[in-house]
Amino acid sequence: MDEREPLLRAQGVTKAFPGALALDGVDFTLRRGEVHALLGENGAGKSTLVKCLTGAYRRDGGDLLLDGRPIDPRDTQAAQELGIGTVYQEVNLLENLTVAENLLLGRQPRRMGLVSPGATRAAAREMLAGYGLDIDVGRPLGSYSVAIRQVVAIARAVALSGKVLILDEPTASLDAREVEMLFGVVEGLRDRGLGIVFISHFLDQVFRICDRVTVLRNGRLVGTRETAGLDRLGLVNMMLGRELSEETRAHGRIDGPGGAPALAFRGFGRAGRIAPVTLEIRRGEVVGVAGLLGSGRTELAETVFGVTPHDCGTAEADDGTRLALTSPRAAVAAGFGFCPEDRKTDALVGDLSIRENIVLALQARRGWARPVPRREQAALADDYIARLDIRTTDAEKPAGQLSGGNQQKVILARWLATNPRFLILDEPTRGIDVGAHAEIIRLIEELCAAGMSLLVISSELDELVSYSHRVIVLRDRAQVAALEGAGITVESIVSAIAAPGKAAGPGPAPDARAPAREGAGA
Amino acid sequence: QTIGFSQIGSESGWRAAETTLTHQQAEERGIDLKFADAQQKQENQIKALRSFIAQGVDAILLAPVVATGWDAVLEEAKEAEIPVVLLDRTVDAPEDLYLTAVTSDLVHEGAVAGQWLAKAVGDEPCNVVELQGTTGSSPAIDRKAGFEQGIAGHDNIKIIRSQTGDFTRTKGKEVMESFLKAEDGGKNICALYAHNDDMAVGAIQAIKEAGLKPGDDILVVSIDAVPDIFKSMAEGEANATVELTPNMAGPAFDALAAYMKDGTVPPKWIQTESKLYTQEDDPMAIYEQKKGLGY
């Protein structure tokens, strides 16, 4: 072991869920002044370990020592009092409270017994100062974007962490600029001697900031290593227990299919959400969508799928028939599919079984009177559990009990089951481990080979590059560029995103975007 | 001349009839009647009285849902010099707070029913089952007390079971069914006393469905004299009922008219008659004349 007395030590932590041994005697040590990566496939047990450390779950076995003294946080409040601050995997803040209230909940400054809103807001602004986003802390959190919420969650956790800061996939919905900013903060804390636990599926981020890594697999400890002198492939092997051949392209795919467009959107848009876009997609073509946070990618997707019906323009199928995309129902009928960005609220039906979640869309399209036979359902479920390698004990497990990444796969399976002609993926690889990441990219290529057209939104540019035939770039909720085959490179996309108008400042400032969602909190 | 009328609600056929008659009486006298239905809530009645006072009506008719709790608002009426007449139930407030009360004597009604039963059974032993009104309501309490007075001294008459039927037919039937079960198929039961006719009508059906003959196997006596009970009497299924006249407004208006004309102060209590009807009084005829009254 090491000479330095560890800050936080977990020994033989065990945690069982009905039908799943999530943690099996895991040891974990965190030193002062280190950033320690916690890695593993989806469902490896990372979040569960974190929740056991912070008392969100009662562990079934194992000891926790903080500064060598045994601790046993009964609930997250106790953990906070011990100086352990945490950002959980799904942003755990309250959208009905204001940003300030979220930041200071439980610690509001008081004047003669009464909480003083003014002082609270001031304190909140102070807390956010270091994060380069000055938003109106008096507005409900719900009116801000995923990214902004993520940063707020981090700020709260940092403020609470006297000794230990735990970040469970904090960068999942952040873009490069915000990630850099976050790392700045983390390094600051490290230098102040805090111990930081960092969970992520972005390996380059891990190499960029972490001193050591601990890898879990199927709830067991695989090992702990110094990051220095560890190479990417070796790390991946530790995580997956197998080789993984990642071939990445330098530029987009040139083998773009020819022929008439299968779908044509003309001047298609919705006032206030996305400026009219004209877009033609051929069978078997992958069109990527790039842009900064809040650039309107999700709006584009939602408008195409009829979630927020378009108010201008038309959509035509190859046979010239007009498609009425007035509602998701209509879109599904037209053979569309849509994996939303925010799977928790927009896609997952937590209490239904994996099987039911997978057949849901198919069933909806067939109508209630023609149920998918139970046997067929089971077959479908098992098939996709195998194909997407969804980690679960069986198909009847409530989907809500799956780990983040596996939930994502279930949603994907839901739409594949309907084999749509046109599939929209909004951040399909968000929160997905390297193995599954490769899986999904392979899948995307398979699908378009099989003649399906895809519209893929992603913040990971090299990923976009590697599977897109074409990429359209959005800024301020309008299309600003379209790149083709060889013209698609990370650099070209970045420059397109940042092209003229960039003068307006370093990317659309959050507060500038804020009004975009006026009233959304109500 | 404007008169405000705060009615309890329309929870039973009898009350509906009282409301109808009050409107009729007012019309005959050319009175502009302001009607407020309190949905069985005292607070609403108090609100109504207050609003009447605020509107400055000439007089107020009040059918109090409960005896207590009127002092304050009656005080206000008095200060505003608005005479208040109580209908069909009295209140326990100082007498000077209201002009008069036109009511029947609930206890007396029960007593009449009791005496009838005592006479009917002579000195054979008789087990009575009782269907009470809504628990806690003054008619339920008084009619129970009255009946017990009525049968006092007749040790052959015993009340063996007493449950609430909430003044409704449904509950009356349901409760009677369980009475019949509990008293081995009704063989122990010699008479039924119901605090109102509606419950009796329900109970009669229960008795029939149990294969017994109401009116013979089990005597049925109840209170109110609503039309349907006379139908049952005509068919020999009910034996007696005590009338509670729905025309309380008539006497009230007369008293008010006199008072306003030359200040003749009416007696504090204008008691309406509690008439006993049995199968002898040609029930069908009474049914015919009553069924128009909006019961």
């Binding site: 869920f17 039906v349 | 509906a16 003044f167 409704t168």
Partner: protein, 352 residues
């Protein structure tokens, strides 16, 4: 694992509870289980329970579906009154039985449609949306009967209330049939799953192409229809429409039945069979109280005590069974709590 097994496991706690309650009553009142034949009709306390429980049972069928969509229907009592009034008015004004029943049930459907539209179209919270009809409905019913009790003598109609089919009281036959039918429709088609999906996460359901709006309206209409049938039975039972008291406060009993049946008020997984058993449990308690011969002022306390006992026994903390409550406060699914914790949380807190 077979579906019948799942089914039995699902309703087991309710069955046990019912058995216990019946046992208790039998202890207080020996003759409880005797059943005899009296003028062509089964006769006995148990039959009374089945018979008297009919309205609540029927209401519980519709209420279960409504609650499964995260809704609630406070208006069923009032709808009972309306439909009872309509059928009585129709019969007394010379309609035949069929058209009279048709009118009444149509009224029920219309009421349900109204509720559904308020919830879906105007996006009014179910409890308030249905509160409106709860208040106004009785008024409408009285408007039909003009405050009086509309008595009728039409034998056919009366048969629905106090007749018997092969000795089985008609109301019992009706609610059993209705229950079986609904159960079949819901489980043999995809309706059940779609309803549950919408109830758990309406937005996700809609995004998956489920016609959530139509589904919810339909569910409220079913509830209205069930209430309509219940209203007709209640009226037929007393040979008259009592607009003021028919179905008074029955909505609470119906909701209680659903919850005792283990369906969460937060929507989602539901079981009609369990709700029906729940209804019978409640009726057993009521009948038991009547048989026990306590003075009426104790009725409520006894009822409350028994209910609390039942719920405590069924509570997820003491029994790993159906959860009555899930991670709370899911106003808009956007504010949904991380679902993957809810079940674990429950597990966590079981004292070991």
């Amino acid at each position: 694992m077979s579906r019948t097994q799942d089914f039995l496991r699902r309703i087991l706690p309710q069955v046990v509870t019912l058995a216990v309650v019946l046992g208790l009553i039998a202890a207080v009142y020996p003759g409880f289980f005797d059943i005899s034949m009296a003028n062509g009709r089964l006769y006995g306390s148990v039959i009374d329970i089945l018979n008297r429980g009919a309205p609540v049972a029927l209401l519980a069928i519709g209420m279960t579906l409504v609650i499964a969509t995260r809704g609630i229907d406070l208006s069923v009592g009032a709808i009972m009154a309306i439909c009872g009034a309509v059928v009585a008015a129709a019969i007394t004004s010379g309609f035949g039985l069929a058209p009279a029943l048709g009118l009444a049930l149509a009224a029920g459907l219309a009421c349900g449609l109204w509720n559904g539209l308020l919830v879906v179209l105007f996006d009014i919270q179910p409890i308030v949306a249905t509160l409106i009809l709860m208040v106004a409905g009785r008024g409408i019913a009285q408007l039909v009967t003009e405050g009086a009790i509309l008595t009728f003598t039409h034998e056919g109609l009366i048969f629905l209330g106090s007749g018997a089919i092969f000795g089985v009281p008609t109301p019992v036959a009706i609610w059993l049939a209705a229950g079986a039918l609904t159960l079949l429709v819901v489980r043999r088609t995809a309706l059940g799953m779609l309803i549950e999906a919408v109830g758990i996460n309406r937005r996700a359901g809609a995004l998956a192409g489920v016609g959530a709006g139509a589904l919810i309206v339909a569910v409220y209409m079913v509830s209205g229809l069930c209430a309509g049938v219940a209203g007709v039975i209640a009226a037929a039972d007393i040979r008259g429409a009592d607009a003021n008291n028919a179905g008074l406060w029955l909505e609470l009993d119906a909701i209680l039945a659903v919850v005792i049946g283990g369906t969460s008020l937060l929507g989602g997984r539901f079981s009609i069979a369990a709700s029906l058993i729940g209804a019978m449990i409640i009726q057993s308690v009521n009948t038991g109280i009547l048989l026990s011969g306590f003075p009426p002022e104790f009725n409520l306390i006894i009822k409350a005590a028994i209910i609390i006992a039942i719920l405590v026994l069924q509570s997820p903390r003491l029994r790993g069974g159906p959860r009555l409550r899930r991670s709370g406060g899911r106003a808009s699914p956007r504010k949904q709590a991380p679902r993957d914790q809810a079940p674990a949380e429950k597990k966590e807190r079981v004292p070991s």
